[in-house]
């Protein structure tokens, strides 16, 4: 890599060298691989069942993905900082019920959504404070809060449930309505997603999340406010879980004490499939969103192809393995190509 003779010309043009383009491509490719798997899957399904991509079909696909996309977006921020939030499922459940109770009492839908988000923020803050101030392993703490929030939820909710009948019609219609085949909920998720991705790329605080996930000790030495950033990531994650809770209510019109149970594994799967690395520092929210889209679509594709539901779980698992394995193999190939190129260069 390092040559002793100065070479100003090549240094100025560095941004345009083959190396950087290749690197760029590698990073784009990680998401591209998932996108291709997704498109192939959709194409195959469409070939097998022409109803699949009808207006209703597209709408269903998008709606199914919406909630997971939101939660996965928040989760990937936390994972990028080398942490994890397992309590998102519990948060989603309790915020959905809170919003439902409020609406049941004749509340305003917009206020209900804000309420859910605020409640999510509160739980996110709790997680963030425990992790960043206590400086304890996130996995344990958020597994703990997963249980705590779920327990509080079950004690509070008991056997009550919110059904569509308890909700204002406008709210339920909002949950299933949309512009042509694009549901309102999906639009919300898209806005959140694009906004988050933009901030991550273009604001210092966003890049600092990557930095502190990449090397926490170095982040401290570089003067990055580590605790503040981790707190912010958890809070954002909680907020999105809350928003997802409200949208869950709108979408399914049905919430009880079991809502969101076991959701953490799905979210973590989506994030991992989307190429966000668990040891922190790399990955993108677009990847996580694609991962979410892929996972939820598998669940629509298999029934649409008439695959017996007995097979669904196994196929789901194997596809997940395939996705991460293919991603890894591509990454390895590219890395070795990069290395050889470097060697020739040196």
């Amino acid at each position: 890599m390092t040559v002793t003779a100065p070479n100003p010309a090549s240094a100025t043009e560095a941004p345009k060298t083959g190396g950087s383009r290749l690197v760029d491509r590698v990073f784009k490719m990680r998401e591209l691989a998932i996108l291709i798997v997704f498109l192939v899957m959709i194409a195959v399904t469409q070939a097998g069942n022409s109803e699949f991509l009808s207006q209703q079909g597209i709408k269903d696909l998008l709606l199914n993905a919406t909630i997971l996309v939101l939660v996965a977006t928040g989760q990937s921020l936390v994972v990028i900082t080398r942490n994890v939030d397992l309590s998102v499922g519990s948060t989603l459940g309790i915020t959905a019920f809170a919003a439902g109770t409020y609406l049941h009492g004749g509340g305003n839908p917009a206020v209900a959504i804000v309420l859910a988000v605020l409640l999510g923020v509160a739980f996110g803050l709790l997680n963030g404070l425990l992790v960043s101030l206590g400086q304890v392993p996130a996995l344990v703490v958020t597994l703990g809060t997963l249980y705590i929030i779920r327990g509080i939820d079950s004690i509070w909710v008991g056997s009550r449930q919110i059904t569509a009948a308890d909700l204002p019609g406008s709210f339920v219609d909002f949950g299933s309505g949309g512009v042509w085949a694009v549901p309102y909920l999906a639009l919300i998720a898209l806005v959140v997603l694009v906004g988050t991705a933009y901030c991550l790329k273009n604001f210092s605080s966003g890049r600092e999340l990557y930095a502190l996930g990449s090397n926490p000790e170095a982040a401290r030495l570089a003067g990055i406010p580590v605790r503040k950033r981790i707190l912010a990531a958890y809070t954002f994650c909680g907020a999105l879980a809350g928003l997802a809770g409200a949208l869950y209510l709108a979408r399914f019109g049905n919430v009880d004490s079991g809502t969101g149970n076991g959701y953490e594994l799905t979210v973590v799967s989506a994030v991992v499939v989307g190429g966000v690395v668990f040891t922190g520092g790399s990955g993108s929210v677009y990847g996580a969103a694609l991962g979410a889209l892929l996972l939820t679509s598998i669940n629509s594709v298999l029934p649409a192809l008439g695959v017996s539901s007995v097979w669904v779980l196994a196929i789901n698992g194997i596809l997940l393995l395939l996705a991460i394995a293919v991603d890894r193999i591509v990454a390895l190939r590219v890395a070795s190509a990069l290395k050889k190129r470097n060697a020739r260069h040196a």
């Binding site: 344990v140 997963l146 705590i148 779980l313 991460i324």
Partner: protein, 333 residues
């Protein structure tokens, strides 16, 4: 953080002490706790978690995790049921199931070591895949008619004592695991791998092979648990032991095993397992609702990580004050 101070407040000993306190309290003040029947139930219901916690502890010490354990247990139970329905002899079926479990573990291990994939991601995948295969194998059947001598062994007690018969084999396995982790070069190398994988490789430790062994052992033990589960509850269904992985992980964490790898003791992990099991039993006897039990579990987990840290900070502060007071020169060997 100096290691000497870290070790001064060892969480695993705290968990052990806590377990003893809870047991003493329960024997003294909780109706129906101390009799042989209840104790045998308590131990019998905790055994599956304890069985899987043994290899899981070793795995976590080496810096990996296996979330597919419950699915492997479910799969081995399902296969056991399906083969039994085919009319195969149980003496053949059980070894087959154990081998199958080992193969499941091996698959996890190969994906992790050969492709270098994160074990969390791999085993979330096989968590779904193995459970799915179990569903394909056994479908909606529930097989219950296993031979009674096997069922009796899995559910029975040693004479009239509180010890389930299955506890004795577990003790043997426990001793094996403790020796393997804490007294053999293999165990020592696991700690090294967990704390610094690259350095371990440079020290000539066969990192991949060791991890492969661990994953395979975990699969084997999960299958053993699956067989035990099906016999203990006299029911082989594809969804046996669903969600057991979280209980195992929670117990092991409670026992002070660090998920970053390289730290922890088996004693702590097993104390964690039985502490959670005992608490649940006691809370049920005291009519604490299932919901409140969940909250207690969660609070325990949070305390289990915050507690040692707070204690350590206090210890450090105290040591600092002592050092400031007594200005002795640095010790050298």
């Amino acid at each position: 953080m100096p290691e000497s101070l870290t070790r001064a407040v060892r969480w695993d000993t705290v968990v052990g002490a806590l377990l003893i306190v809870v047991l003493l309290f329960s024997f003294g003040f909780v109706d129906g706790f101390g009799n042989a029947l209840n104790l045998s139930f308590l131990i019998g219901n905790t055994l599956p978690i304890a069985l899987i916690a043994l290899p899981m502890t070793l795995l976590v010490v080496s810096g990996e995790i296996d979330l597919s354990v419950a699915s492997t247990a479910g799969l081995s139970g399902a296969v056991m049921g399906a083969l039994w329905n085919q009319g195969m002899a149980i003496e053949t079926i059980i070894p087959l199931c154990l081998v199958l479990g080992a193969v499941c573990g091996l698959v996890n291990g190969l994906l992790v070591t050969r492709l270098g994939l994160p074990s969390l991601a791999v085993t979330i995948g096989t968590l779904a895949a193995y459970r799915g295969i179990a569903q394909i194998v056994l479908g909606s059947d529930a097989v219950t008619d296993f031979p009674s001598q096997y069922l009796d062994f899995a559910a029975g007690r040693v004479g009239d004592s509180f010890l389930p018969q299955a506890f004795l084999p577990f003790l043997v396995l426990l001793v094996l695991a403790v020796v393997a982790l804490h007294a053999t070069p293999f165990g020592r190398s696991l700690f090294a791998i967990g704390a610094g994988e690259e350095a371990a490789r440079f020290a000539g430790i066969r990192v991949k092979r060791n991890k492969l062994i661990l994953f395979t052992a975990t699969g084997f033990m999960s299958a053993l648990t699956g067989v035990f589960w099906a016999l203990h509850y006299a029911s082989a269904r594809y969804d046996n032991a669903t969600g057991l992985e979280l209980s195992v992980v929670a117990s092991v964490l409670l026992g002070g095993i660090d998920f970053d790898g390289g730290k922890g003791t088996l004693g702590g992990a097993i104390a964690g397992v039985f502490l959670l099991g005992t608490l649940q039993n006691v809370m049920s006897l005291l009519n604490v609702s299932a919901q409140s039990q969940i909250v207690v579990t969660g609070v325990l987990l949070v305390v289990s990580v915050l507690g040692p840290r707070a204690a350590r900070q206090i210890a450090v502060a105290r040591a600092g004050r002592r050092a400031a007071a007594a200005r002795t020169p640095t010790a050298t060997p």
